[in-house]
């Protein structure tokens, strides 16, 4: 352990496609319920779009944030600010907008930022023949907008930083504050990420990479099947998640509920290939997180896998897990919850970290949905299938591996 100062997870919040609260979302994860539906989009000038995806269809920005604020936000910021306010409230913290704290801050992740704003602007200029875009286009679209809004709304003066590291964005946003909290540079940090990626151009770009799972109205819910022999790719999703992390003693002094300890962080680069992951790079990241957390591999009882359901990625992650845990790997429970909530790109790391923390807090871990025929290249670990795993969960990892070769692993320890 790098320091005696420990870090507590004291607040959790999210905006999720089921539309309910954290307890509702986690319950559905435990039951293996998929939020994936067929997403369609059609207008007069673009070709119809129909792909399995995850949308927060019932999200009402005005109800969540009031009338004025949503006008100054891209959807990714609306989702993010709502999740952050929810985590803040969950942590039992008062709104400090008028009493700012300069030792509290925000660290956020997004892969695409305000891509919907930019697409709308390009449509106006290039398709609709206009010669200008709305005046807030820059401040809506910028990738640090969500963090800025969260900082303003909650009076967070320590720092406001944004990480854009593709699919590991929010995991890295979480991990990078650990040293700040351990050193005492900050006492409390709001961390997380948000993504609203379902623009026409972004979906077409992912289609062009040939990694999106196909499906129709009937089959969409089962489109994402990590580790399954017939898996066919990932499903894009929108959403947001936030956590309140704070100095352990600070949390105890104010009588906060502690969900789990944020124990360790590993961050490595494959330095090899833009999209082909590396077993070695992932092994180093997992080992680093375990060591950083003062843990041993024997204490890890659950891994929330990156598990996107691509043909190439899943076997590499399983090989990396086997590399870290050796002969014990068959005892390490693994699940890939993207099978239910999809791949929220920059937000997916925090959503999965929240699921990991909830698993430790409740001593129940969710299954990989639709996993009925484990691929022979994905064997050698204890896949959770059919329903939740109930039992003694001492510590857990949340894996996030990004295009570009950035690997981030978060280690959590049960609070009790």
């Amino acid at each position: 352990m790098a320091s005696a100062r420990r870090v507590a997870v004291t607040g959790l919040g999210l905006v999720n496609p089921f539309g309910g609260d954290l307890a509702d979302f986690f319950g559905r994860m435990l039951r293996g319920e998929s939020a994936i539906r067929l997403f369609t989009r059609e207008d007069k000038t673009t070709r119809p779009l129909a792909v399995p995806a995850v949308r927060c269809a019932s999200f009402d920005a005005e109800a969540a944030l009031g009338r004025s604020l949503p006008f100054t936000m891209d959807r990714y910021s609306q989702l993010g600010a709502t999740a952050a306010l929810s985590a803040w409230s969950d942590a039992g913290l008062p709104r400090t907008k008028d009493a700012p704290r300069n030792d509290w801050g925000v660290s956020w992740g997004t892969a695409l930022g305000g891509t919907l704003t930019f697409e709308s602007g390009y449509m106006d200029l290039l398709r609709n023949g206009r010669d200008r875009v709305p005046p807030l286009s820059v401040v809506l679209g910028m990738s640090n907008a969500a963090a800025s809004h969260i900082s303003i709304q909650l009076g967070l003066g320590a720092s406001s930083t944004t990480y854009t590291v593709a699919c590991a964005s929010s995991a890295i946003a979480i991990g990078e504050v650990l040293s700040k909290l351990r050193s005492g540079e900050a006492t409390l940090m709001v961390v997380g990420g948000s993504e609203a990626p379902l623009s026409y151009g972004i979906v077409r770009a992912w289609e062009a990479m040939r990694v999106l799972a196909g499906g129709d109205e009937t089959s969409a819910a089962r489109a994402c099947r990590p580790f399954n022999s017939d898996r066919q790719g990932l499903v894009l999703g929108e959403g947001a998640g936030a956590m309140v992390l704070e100095d352990w003693d600070h949390a105890v002094r104010r009588g906060a509920r502690i969900y789990a300890e944020f124990a360790g962080y590993g961050n490595t680069s494959d330095h090899d290939h833009l999209v082909r992951p590396s077993v070695e790079g992932q092994i180093r990241a997992m080992r680093m997180a375990i060591l950083d957390g003062g843990l041993t591999p024997d204490e890890i009882d659950y891994i929330n896998a990156h598990g996107t359901a691509t043909r190439e990625g899943d076997p590499i992650e399983i090989a990396a897990i086997r590399g870290v845990f050796g002969s014990r790997s068959e005892a390490v429970a693994v699940s890939a919850t993207k099978s239910m909530h999809g791949h929220m790109l920059g937000a997916t790391g925090v959503i999965e970290a929240i699921i990991t923390v909830m698993s430790l807090a409740s001593q129940e871990a969710p299954p990989t949905a639709h996993l009925d025929a484990v691929d022979r290249d994905c064997t050698g670990v204890r896949h959770i299938t059919g329903g939740p795993l109930r039992g003694s969960l001492r510590a857990a990892l949340s894996n996030s591996f990004a295009f570009g070769g950035s690997n981030s692993v978060l280690a959590f320890r049960a609070a009790h």
Partner: protein, 81 residues
């Protein structure tokens, strides 16, 4: 004509910020109505869009509703002439 601009302004501020139209009078201070620099940008854009005018880059920032209406009125009159 100024009355039409005032109506447009009142409708915008009511929709956008839930500001009571009765408060939006020519004498009212934009600062007191909480029209900050970003909201002013949106307002100018709205006037340009609805009236088909172009408000120059270097225009003196208005302090009151009346100042804002005068800027727009001047441009509109110029265009109509």
């Amino acid at each position: 004509m100024k009355q039409d601009y005032l109506t447009l302004l009142r409708e915008f501020l009511h929709k956008r910020e839930n500001i009571d139209p009765a408060r939006v009078t020519p004498e009212a201070s934009l600062e007191e109505l909480k029209v900050d620099s970003l909201l002013l940008l949106e307002l100018l854009f709205e006037f340009e869009d609805k009236l088909g005018v172009t408000i120059p880059q270097g225009v003196t920032p208005p302090k009151t509703v009346g100042d804002l209406l005068a800027i727009v009125d001047g441009l509109k009159v110029g265009k109509d002439a």
